[in-house]
């Protein structure tokens, strides 16, 4: 049965009539398609979350990807008083109007049709092309809904758009004028969404995009949007009450995993991510009561990262891996041994816990061991493989994982013969001399032989890229062996 989505309150003051109450279809609402825009449906929960929470939204995409038209049509459909500024061209006078002394001699700004006073929504286009001084003046509008220190009480929605900032790679050379946002400014946009690339659309969608001028917005779109916003607002407190603790745990773990990958989230960004997740889930629930929180978490993570706008190269597949791992860990109960294992950040310690745990499925053990082998440094992973092999723990792993362990163990256990001609005093010659010095200092004990095998193997496979790598690898190998001995004890 369709839900009545009558708005509980008006969505801002409008010069247009308030949207009517409307019955939403039970399945997909296609709110963005109803604005006459094709292929942007994935952005619906993100835009809806931004509208419901009034959090700043930044759209990033190439020219012609529909950023401006999307925001413009939403503003029109919702009947908002809105301003569209091109940050590359705007003057401060355009924003505030002209200052004139009033009867008491105080300066007041004379409003113009383009000034920001009284606006319910502000759309700052090409924000990445703004001069630094203009960015600084726009900052308080986005951050605190003020201009010149004067509050903008009517302002609810702050939107911006930009092309992908120019980077070092050749693909981004088309947007040389688009500069990375200052991280402080970027960090104020709670939601940062990348526009879908139309080349990934289906053939029919691509043709519809090409014919887009023939598509006009649905007359009921405004009412539908208003209803969806109202329902999202209504559902949000329930989502927060039900999922708040889990969301916080997920965000904490995700932030730690991203930090390991070299991407630091500020505490504010972590809070924004949690808020976005709840809002996006509420937005999705407003259309589909069966919407899964895990999918909402991924949508939130994907659209809450401040790195792309700041010009940092950020790999979505890495984010997906971190998200999956964080979600898995967050789902584990605190008293669950799996929870303890997954909460352990050190891969070697994690394997120790996993092997000691009773009742851990062998499939989980395999995953943990494989992760540890791929994540540990050379030397450390060799000591781990050696220990797994010689303790017999390898028999508990799947065939593929056991094979991977055996391949690493081969480097230390078997004599690795080296026969190579190198340039005298070249890098490889110097590295080899360092290897010889380290090995020459040792008597021919089994331990020294293994170290020799390890170094010879890494040398052969070009995994020693500098002389200092020799000591680093040996140190990792010996230290990890020592740590694993305590497990055996």
């Amino acid at each position: 049965m369709a839900k009545s989505l009558a708005p509980k309150k008006a969505v801002g003051k409008s010069s247009q009539p308030a949207p009517e109450t409307i019955e939403l279809p039970p399945a997909r609402r296609d709110l963005i398609a109803r604005l006459g825009l094709i292929g942007l449906g994935a952005l619906e929960p993100v835009v809806l979350a931004s509208l419901a929470t009034q959090c700043p939204l930044l759209l990033i995409g190439p020219h012609g990807s529909g950023k401006s038209v999307l925001l413009e049509r939403i503003a029109v459909a919702l009947g908002l008083r809105w301003r569209h500024y091109n940050a590359a061209l705007v003057n401060f006078d355009d924003l505030v109007g002209y200052p004139l002394p009033d009867a008491s001699g105080q300066l007041r700004f004379v409003e113009t049709p383009a000034s920001v006073w009284g606006a319910q929504a502000v759309f700052i286009d090409e924000i990445s092309r703004a001069r630094l001084d203009v960015q600084n003046r726009l900052f308080p509008i986005v951050h605190e809904r003020r201009v010149q220190g004067i509050p903008l009480p009517d302002l609810k929605h702050r939107w911006a758009a930009m092309n992908p900032p120019s980077g070092d790679d050749e693909d981004s050379s088309a947007y040389l004028g688009s500069q990375p946002l200052d991280i402080a400014l970027s960090d104020r946009f709670a939601l940062q969404a990348s526009m879908p690339d139309w080349r990934t659309f289906s053939e029919s969608q691509q043709e519809a995009v090409i014919r887009a001028q023939e598509v006009t917005p649905d007359s009921a779109a405004g009412a539908l949007w208003a209803a969806a916003i109202a329902l999202t607002e209504e559902l949000l407190p329930m989502v927060q009450a039900q999922w708040g603790a889990s969301i916080a745990r997920y965000v904490r773990i995700l932030a730690a995993l991203l930090a390991e990958a070299g991407f630091q989230l500020s505490a504010r960004r972590a809070g924004m991510l949690a808020g976005n997740l709840a809002a996006i889930h509420a937005a999705r629930l407003s259309a589909d009561a069966e919407a899964g929180i895990d999918d909402s978490a991924w949508i939130a993570a994907l659209n809450s990262m401040p790195f792309a706008a700041a010009g940092q190269v950020f790999d979505t597949s890495r984010l997906l891996a971190c998200h999956r791992e964080a979600w898995r860990q967050a789902a584990a109960k605190a008293d669950d041994p799996m929870g303890r294992i997954l909460a352990e950040r050190d891969p070697i310690a994690r394997v120790r816990l996993a092997l000691a745990a009773t009742g851990l499925p062998d499939g989980e053990l395999t995953t943990i061991v494989t992760d540890a082998l791929s994540g540990a440094a050379d030397g450390a992973r060799h000591a781990l493989a050696e220990w797994l092999f010689e303790s017999g723990a390898i028999a508990r792993l799947s065939v593929l994982a056991a094979d991977a362990v055996a391949e690493v163990y081969r480097d230390v256990a078997c004599v690795q013969e080296v026969s190579e001609q190198v340039a005298p005093n070249g890098l490889r010659h110097r590295i080899w001399r360092t290897v010889q010095q380290r090995l020459g200092a040792e008597p021919a004990t089994p331990m020294a032989e293994r170290q020799g095998n390890l170094l010879a193997s890494l040398f052969s496979s070009n995994r020693l890229s500098a002389e200092e790598d020799v000591d680093r690898v040996l140190r990792c190998y010996v230290q990890t062996q020592e740590r694993l001995k305590t497990v055996a004890a």
């Binding site: 017999g392 593929l400 362990v405 055996a406 081969r410 078997c414 004599v415 001609q421 005298p424 020799g452």
Partner: protein, 202 residues
């Protein structure tokens, strides 16, 4: 043609001679013959090449090795079992021989074309079956149930002057040296007079 390939022809070009790096492992020198190799394998990690060759002239030779009945004749020539019973018997024989061998729980499986220099070769049917039936990929596991599939596909040896037939091969790395029982078998397969050499590594 790259200059570094023929430095002797370019002695006036100022081309610096290449430095040779050669490494055979700590305390390991070149090996002179099979007897020395067996002695070295006694105390240090070594590759054991387990093989089984059946020539076409051999009475146990079959055209099709894809049956347990045919394979069982290699370890029990006079059996008269059907396929099902032969499968069970072969698996039991492999397990029984595994228990007799004092091998470690896990061993590495090697690559035959490489490691040619230092391996000790042992032509012994039960040991070769144990080595093959409990191996997967890079790993031999003592407690793994035997799989007969690797035994069903011996390598066809190209016709040559000396030998025409099939061959099973497996290469295993024993990190603490090859067990004495196997070394005695390997020594026994050496030509007379070459069966004892002092241990060169002491």
């Amino acid at each position: 043609m790259k200059a570094e390939h023929s430095p002797s022809l370019l002695h006036n070009s100022g081309y610096a001679p290449r430095a040779n790096i050669v490494w055979r492992g700590i305390g390991r020198g070149p090996i002179a013959d099979d007897a020395e190799r067996i002695e070295v394998a006694r105390g240090r990690g070594a590759w054991l090449h387990l093989c089984l060759s059946i020539g076409q002239a051999d009475g146990r030779y079959h055209r099709d090795w894809n049956t347990a009945t045919a394979l069982l004749t290699l370890v029990e020539p006079d059996h008269r079992l059907g396929e099902k019973a032969a499968t069970r018997c072969l698996v039991e024989r492999i397990e029984a021989h595994t228990r007799r061998l004092d091998w470690p729980p896990c061993l590495l499986v090697g690559d035959l074309p490489r490691n040619r220099e230092r391996r000790v070769t042992l032509d012994h049917a039960p040991a070769a079956f144990v080595a093959l039936a409990k191996s997967t990929g890079s790993l031999w596991l003592r407690d793994r149930p035997p799989l007969l599939a690797p035994l069903h596909a011996p390598k066809l040896v190209e016709p040559s002057v000396n030998f025409r037939g099939v061959r099973w091969d497996q290469l295993l790395w024993f990190p603490d040296g090859i067990p004495n029982t196997l070394l005695e078998l390997a020594t026994a397969q050496l030509p007379p007079g070459r069966q004892r050499r002092p241990n060169p590594i002491g």
